[in-house]
C-alpha cells in the first residue's frame, strides 16, 4: 500500500507540474464551459457561443434485428442533460445502435465527455472505452481515442475529449478499444460538421454574412444547407440525412452474450443495416420499441429505446437530398444505389471533391462503394423525378437479407412527394 501511495503522489506531482489538476477518482466528471451542474448543457449559451458539449455513456445493451432477433450489443447512449449523479444508472444497459448522431458546426469547440457505464450483462468484463473521432484533421493521440497510442477510460469514470472544429464534412465515430470486438459489437455512429458557409453565406464572413445565401438551417434565406465551403453554392441541399452502413455477425454477438470465445476468424456478417436497422425497419419513421427478451417476454434492457434512428427519406420533387453516407462494417465493402435517381458525389473523406488547387472533381454516378471507415457526400437531385417511392439499397444483392430472412437488409425508401 505504501508503494502505491508513493507512486500515486509521484503521478500527482508530475500532473501538477504539467498543469493538470486531477479530477476526483472514479467519478462522473463532465467538463463543459459555463455548465455549473455538469449536465453537459451550457447554462447561458450566449456567454459561450462557440462551445458545444455532449455527454455519452459507453456500455452494453440490446437491439432488435429486422427479423425479430434479440441482439446483445456494446454501444453509446446520450447522457446530455443528465446530472452526474444519475449518469451511471441512466447509462447502464442503455446502448444505442447506431450511436447517437453527433451534429457539429465548423468553428465550434466541442467538449465530448465519455462515461464508462460498465457492462451490466457481462460483469466479468472490465473493458475501458474510447471515442475515436474518425477522420479528425491533424489529430493528436490524447483525443484520438486509439488506445494503443493513447488512453481509454475505465468503468465508473469520465474522460472529456476536446476538438477544435476547423474542417467541415462527413466523419464518423466509434470506440477504438479492442477495435475488432467493440466495433463488431456496435459502438459506431454518424458524425458530421456543418461548414462555416452555412453562417457566412457565399462570399460573406461571420461579421458580415451574405444574408441572401446564409443557410436556412441557420435562419438565412439561402438553401437549407451546404456540405462544404464551396464558394459557389454547388454543394447546396434541401434535405439531409446521415446514413451509416453497417452489419452484425449474430454468432459473434451471441458468443459475447453467452460468455464464449469470440469468433474473430470466423466472423461473417449476416445482418446488413442502415442506421442500425434492416429493411423494413429502416422505413419506420418512429423509434423502434424497446427490445423484448423472447424468453421472458419482458424488456431486455429496462424499457430503454435503443434504435431511434430511421433511414426513411422524404422530399418534395425538385429538392436536393444530401446523403451523408458512411460505412463502419468491420468485414465488408458495400455498394449502394438510389434506383431511378441521379447521384452526385461532392465529397469523400470529409473533404470537398476538389484537387489541391481547387479543380472540381465532383462526379455523377448511380452507385457508391464504401469500405469500412470510408464516407461520401452524395447529392440526389430530384428535379427530374416523378413523385413516388424510390429505393436506396445495396447492389451487393445477397445483403438484401436479415440473416435467414431473404427480403430485407440494407435498403430504405426515398419518398418524393
Amino acid at each position: 500500500m505504501k508503494t502505491t501511495c508513493t507512486l500515486s503522489r509521484l503521478g500527482f506531482l508530475v500532473a501538477l507540474a504539467w498543469g493538470l489538476a486531477p479530477a476526483a477518482h472514479g467519478a462522473v466528471f463532465v467538463q463543459c464551459p459555463g455548465d455549473s451542474n455538469q449536465d453537459a448543457v451550457i447554462d447561458n449559451p450566449a456567454l459561450h457561443p462557440n462551445a458545444k458539449c455532449m455527454h455519452l455513456s459507453g456500455g452494453d445493451g440490446f437491439v432488435t434485428m429486422a427479423d425479430g432477433y434479440l441482439q446483445y450489443i456494446f454501444g453509446f447512449s446520450d447522457l446530455t442533460g443528465v446530472l452526474p449523479e444519475q449518469a451511471m444508472s441512466e447509462g447502464m444497459l442503455a446502448a444505442n445502435f447506431p450511436a447517437p448522431t453527433i451534429a457539429l458546426k465548423q468553428g465550434q469547440q466541442f467538449y465530448l465527455s465519455l462515461t464508462n457505464a460498465g457492462m451490466a450483462i457481462r460483469p466479468d468484463l472490465f473493458d475501458p472505452h474510447t471515442v475515436h473521432f474518425h477522420g479528425f484533421p491533424q489529430a493528436a493521440p490524447v483525443f484520438d481515442g486509439m488506445p494503443e497510442g493513447s488512453i481509454g477510460i475505465n468503468m465508473g469514470a469520465t474522460i472529456t475529449y476536446y476538438y477544435n472544429l476547423i474542417e467541415p464534412g462527413t466523419f464518423m465515430y466509434h470506440c477504438h478499444m479492442e477495435a475488432t470486438e467493440h466495433m463488431q459489437m456496435g459502438m459506431l455512429g454518424s458524425l458530421y460538421v456543418d461548414p462555416i458557409q452555412n453562417r457566412t453565406g457565399i462570399g460573406g464572413s461571420l461579421a458580415a454574412p451574405d444574408l441572401s445565401t446564409v443557410a436556412a438551417k441557420e435562419g438565412g434565406a439561402g438553401p437549407y444547407g451546404y456540405v462544404y465551403n464551396d464558394g459557389d453554392g454547388s454543394t447546396a441541399f434541401d434535405v439531409e440525412i446521415p446514413i451509416q452502413l453497417g452489419s452484425f455477425d449474430p454468432a459473434f454477438h451471441d458468443a459475447s452474450y453467452t460468455v464464449q470465445p469470440l469468433p474473430f476468424a470466423e466472423m461473417k456478417d449476416k445482418y446488413p443495416m442502415m442506421n442500425g436497422r434492416g429493411y423494413p425497419d429502416t422505413v419506420n419513421s418512429a423509434s423502434l420499441p424497446p427490445p423484448i427478451d423472447p424468453e421472458t417476454g419482458e424488456s431486455a434492457n429496462g424499457g430503454k429505446v435503443s434504435q431511434p434512428v430511421s433511414s426513411r427519406v422524404t422530399a418534395t420533387a425538385g429538392q436536393k437530398i444530401l446523403l451523408r453516407l458512411s460505412n463502419l462494417s468491420v468485414t465488408n465493402f458495400y455498394t449502394v444505389t438510389a434506383l431511378g435517381l441521379p447521384m452526385k458525389v461532392v465529397g469523400t473523406g470529409a473533404h470537398i471533391l476538389r484537387g489541391p488547387d481547387g479543380t472540381d472533381t465532383y462526379y455523377d454516378t448511380s452507385s457508391v462503394t464504401l469500405g469500412g471507415g470510408e464516407a461520401a457526400d452524395v447529392i440526389v437531385d430530384t428535379g427530374g423525378a416523378a413523385p413516388g417511392t424510390y429505393f436506396l439499397y445495396t447492389t451487393n444483392l445477397n445483403y438484401l437479407s436479415n440473416n435467414t430472412e431473404d427480403y430485407g437488409g440494407m435498403m430504405t425508401e426515398i419518398v418524393i412527394n
Binding site: V14, W18, G19, P128, H134, P141, G149, A179, T359, E374
Partner: protein, 455 residues
C-alpha cells in the same frame, strides 16, 4: 494489447536506434536494372507465431538489408530509374512452373520470344521447376511510379503462396539527397517514403500444399482456390505486431520477411505512402492523424493535363480504398494545425518559442504558431481511471514523457505521437482469431529534438 505488444519493446527501440535496421531514406529494396531471382520455398512467421509454408522470389545476389538466396515475402522491391531497360532473370526451385508478370509495364519481352529459355505459358513465359533454366523478362521502365509484380502462373494459387512484390520506378532527375519526388514534380515531392504492400493468406491452402508435397503429390492437389478465407493479413509481408519490428538483419529471426512498415516523420514534413493492393481482397486502409492526398493511381499522376506534372485531380481522404492489383501514391502531412492548444505545452510548462513562416508554421521548432502557448482545454482523468496504451508517452505533449504506472507504456522511445495505420475492415487486424495483429502498423510523428533522426 499491452502484453502482446510488450515483446516489441526491445526490438522497436533497437529499430529506432539503428534507423530501422539499416534502412535508408528510401523504401527497402534492391536496385537494378538487372535482377537475378530464384523462386524458392521456405517458411514465414505470422503475427501469432504460426509458421506457414510460403513461396517467394529470392535474390541470387548480395544486397544490403537482404538475405542472399533466401526466399522472401514479399519478393524484393525492385527499384529502377525511369528509362532503364529492366532485365529480370528468373530461375525456379519450386515444385511447379513459375513466372513473373509486370502489370502497368508495356512492351515486356521474354526469353520465350527468342526461344532462349523457358516454356510459353498462358500469361507469360514460365520457368520449369528444374532450378537451372533461366527465364528472362525485359522491359523499359517508361513511367515513374509504384507498381507490383507477381507470378503469372496459376496466380490464384501462387500469389496466395507469396509470389508477389513491388516495383518503384524513380523519375528522371531523382536524387535521394536533394530531389525526392515520386513523379518528378513538386506535387509529388516528399521527405520520407514508405511502402505498404497489402496482402492476405488462408493458412489452409499452405497446409494443403505442404501435405501434398510430403505425400509426393503435385502441390495444387485438392486446393480449391475459389474458396479462400483469409485468417492472416500482412503489410510488406508481416502481420502486426511484426510490422513494427526492425527491417532486415535487425530482426534476424524473420529472414524470409525482411521488410517492416514503420513510417516516421517530423511535423511539417511530407510522407509519401506507396500503397499496393497485392492480394485478392479490397482493403480500406485508414491512416489516423490526418487526410492524405492520393496523387497517383497505378503509376499515373492524377492530372487533368497529361504530362503537366500538376496533380490537380488528387483526392483528399482519410481512408485509401485499396483495390486488388491497384497501386496508390499518397502524400500525408501533419502539422497539428488548428488543434486549439500548444502541442508542446504552454511556455510556463515547457519554455519554447514559435516564429511563424508565411504559412503560420515554425519550421525549426515544428509548431503551428497560432496555437502557441495555448493550454490544453480540459483536465485529463486521474491515472486510476485510465487504461494506457503501450505507445502512450504519459503526456499529451509531443516530446514530453509523463509519469505512468509500473508496467505501462514503454514503447515510445522519443515521446512521439503514434497513430495507427490499418485496415478499417477490423476483422483484418487480427492474427487467426487473436486480436490485435494483422494489417496494422503505426506512424510515428517524432518530436524535433536533438538525438532524434529519421533517415
Amino acid at each position: 494489447m499491452t502484453k502482446t505488444l510488450l515483446r516489441l519493446g526491445h526490438a522497436l527501440v533497437a529499430a529506432l536506434a539503428l534507423g530501422a535496421g539499416g534502412a535508408s531514406a528510401v523504401v527497402d529494396g534492391i536496385t537494378g536494372p538487372v535482377f537475378n531471382l530464384t523462386a524458392r520455398a521456405d517458411y514465414i512467421t505470422a503475427g501469432d507465431g504460426a509458421s506457414l509454408l510460403a513461396w517467394g522470389y529470392a535474390p541470387d545476389d548480395a544486397h544490403p538489408g537482404h538475405f542472399q538466396d533466401v526466399m522472401q515475402y514479399p519478393g524484393p522491391t525492385m527499384i529502377v530509374n525511369e528509362g532503364d531497360e529492366v532485365i529480370v532473370n528468373l530461375k525456379n526451385a519450386l515444385p511447379m512452373p513459375v513466372s513473373m508478370v509486370f502489370p502497368g509495364q508495356s512492351g515486356v519481352t521474354t526469353s520465350c520470344d527468342s526461344a532462349t529459355g523457358g516454356t510459353p505459358g498462358a500469361l507469360t513465359c514460365e520457368a520449369p521447376p528444374d532450378g537451372t533454366t533461366t527465364v528472362t523478362y525485359t522491359f523499359t521502365a517508361s513511367h515513374p511510379g509504384t507498381y507490383l509484380y507477381h507470378s503469372g502462373t496459376r496466380p490464384d494459387l501462387q500469389v496466395e503462396m507469396g509470389l508477389v512484390g513491388a516495383i518503384v520506378v524513380r523519375p528522371a532527375g531523382f536524387d535521394e539527397g536533394t530531389n525526392r519526388t515520386a513523379y518528378g514534380d513538386a506535387g509529388s515531392a516528399y521527405d520520407h517514403e514508405y511502402l505498404f504492400l497489402l496482402t492476405e493468406m488462408d493458412f489452409q491452402v499452405h497446409e494443403q500444399v505442404a501435405i501434398n508435397l510430403m505425400a509426393g503429390l503435385p502441390p495444387e492437389t485438392g486446393v480449391n482456390t475459389a474458396d479462400f478465407t483469409s485468417e492472416y493479413w500482412f503489410i510488406n509481408g508481416r502481420a502486426a505486431p511484426d510490422t513494427m519490428m526492425a527491417a532486415g538483419a535487425g530482426t534476424p529471426w524473420m529472414p524470409t520477411q525482411p521488410y517492416n512498415a514503420m513510417p516516421r516523420m517530423f511535423p511539417g514534413e511530407r510522407l509519401l505512402m506507396r500503397v499496393i493492393g497485392g492480394g485478392r481482397d479490397l482493403h480500406p486502409f485508414h491512416h489516423h492523424g490526418n487526410n492524405s492526398w492520393t496523387i497517383a493511381r497505378d503509376g499515373r499522376l492524377l492530372e487533368s493535363v497529361p504530362g503537366s506534372g500538376n496533380p490537380d485531380l488528387a483526392v483528399s481522404d482519410f481512408t485509401v480504398k485499396v483495390v486488388p492489383g491497384n497501386t496508390y501514391d499518397a502524400i500525408f502531412e501533419w502539422t497539428g494545425k488548428g488543434l486549439g492548444w500548444d502541442i508542446y505545452g504552454t511556455v510556463a510548462l515547457n519554455p519554447h518559442t514559435c516564429t511563424a513562416d508565411t504559412s503560420g508554421f515554425d519550421v525549426v521548432t515544428r509548431e503551428w504558431c497560432a496555437d502557441h502557448d495555448k493550454p490544453l482545454p480540459v483536465v485529463l482523468p486521474n491515472q486510476q481511471d485510465l487504461a494506457f496504451g503501450g505507445f502512450w508517452s504519459g503526456s499529451p505533449y509531443l516530446g514530453a514523457a509523463g509519469a505512468l504506472p509500473p508496467g505501462q507504456g514503454g514503447l515510445n522511445a522519443n515521446a512521439g505521437y503514434f497513430h495507427m495505420w490499418h485496415s478499417h475492415a477490423e476483422k483484418e487486424i487480427t492474427n487467426n482469431d487473436i486480436f490485435p495483429g494483422g494489417m496494422m502498423t503505426m506512424v510515428i510523428i517524432e518530436p524535433r529534438v536533438e538525438g532524434v533522426t529519421i533517415p
